[in-house]
Amino acid sequence: MYGNAYIDPNEKANAMLAGEDPIKLAEFEARIARGEKIEPKDWMPKEYRKQLIRMIEQHGHSEIIGALPEGTWITRAPGFKRKLALMAKVQDEVGHAQLLYSAAETLGKSREDMINDLITGKSKYSNVFNYPAYTWADACIIAWLIDAGAIINQVANAKGSYGPYCRALDRICTEESFHLKYGHDNVVTLATGTPIQRKMVQEALTRWWPPIMHFFGPSDKISSHTEILMRWKVKMASNDDMRQQFLNMYVPKIWDLGLVIPDANLKKNEEIGKWDYTEPDWDEFKRVINGGGPCNAERLAVRRMAEEKGRWVRAALLRKDEKYVTPLA
């Protein structure tokens, strides 16, 4: 489950290519233009490596942290079948993190360094997970709509240029399709259920709509920086385009259930084929991504606790002759 990596719009494009060998750079760009993938030991610009590590790492962290608000509902999920399904989903999310961390590792950042950067708050993860899942219906809305958003992002990124990331995403997307069906099934059950169930799912949707609109990130500034990342197939679609795609696919499905989306301006502009909506509150987005959300502190504290409690086991299992080499693919 993941939105778009947050790219600092103030980063300067001219610094991106500084010091790169022009011949190697041309070969690299030609390879991508031919639709070929880049593999770990290939020559690549420093900035390509840096942006991919940051992006894949954030994606991995999002899977781990995203499992926390959902994991808490396993014991309270209504019925045995839903407990099993939610356990399977949470296991998938943690598995996705491992696939993604592995892909980032091939670019030269160790898994230890990535975990350290997560638990100290240096690395970001998807902002939506800084909000709590108050009720079972919140967990259902997450499983349906947040995973839906994640699939849109991941399907786009799976066509990117870095081989290990694409391979991880192909596997991830297959599994996410189960999450989406499972989440939809849960929301439909509540929305077509008793008045209390309907009220519960409506309230959860109302709570989650602003974070869902934040999910793909603010409008991309059309900068030469973004242009280069798109040419290198690191960034595959603009944040606004992905948000539009999400609205196009899911607003009708939400309306089908007679649920109310808390945005009076939300409607499809048939002339241009795009959705009008109230601009999300980006100050709130920035406040939360920088640590001010309701659950930021809790998420990281729980993650640190887990890491600390497992440390002695890992230390006991470590053999002296073990030697780390970077994974091949």
Binding site: K41, T72, E175, R314, K323
Partner: protein, 123 residues
């Protein structure tokens, strides 16, 4: 103490400022490359890596990570450090040329000769 909505987290009584020592090198162990066989008769196919302290645990993690859905009958794990790979920069060693048709079944065309022979020798 964190006042969480989540009863499980509340029970843990975690402090928000529970700073921990950073993970040190090798905390997450070395990696194993995982090869997965869907069904008997298929080739084992490389599917990714797992971090593990030994081969037994690598097999366990490999099964959890790559064999929890669909068909699986067998997996192999190999320490990444034991894999020797060719270099992408040397990809030209695999280049082939049209003259190498002698290696291909399609390089051998005899029907023209046979037809010609049959035509000329029609008695």
């Amino acid at each position: 103490m964190i006042n969480s909505l989540d009863p499980r987290i509340k029970r843990e009584q975690i402090n928000e400022d529970n700073t921990i020592a950073p993970l040190t090198e090798m905390d997450q162990f070395e990696t194993y490359e995982v090869f997965h066989q869907k069904k008997r008769g298929d080739q084992h196919v490389h599917v990714g890596i797992v971090h593990a302290p030994n081969a037994e645990m690598a097999l366990l993690f490999g099964k959890e990570q790559f064999g929890r859905r669909g068909l699986s009958v067998n997996i192999w794990v190999v320490k990444t450090s034991n894999v020797f790979a060719s270099d992408y920069d040397d990809a030209d060693i695999f280049e082939t040329v049209p003259e190498k048709q002698y290696r291909e079944a399609g390089g051998y065309k005899v029907m023209d000769k046979i037809n010609k022979y049959k035509k000329e020798n029609k008695a």
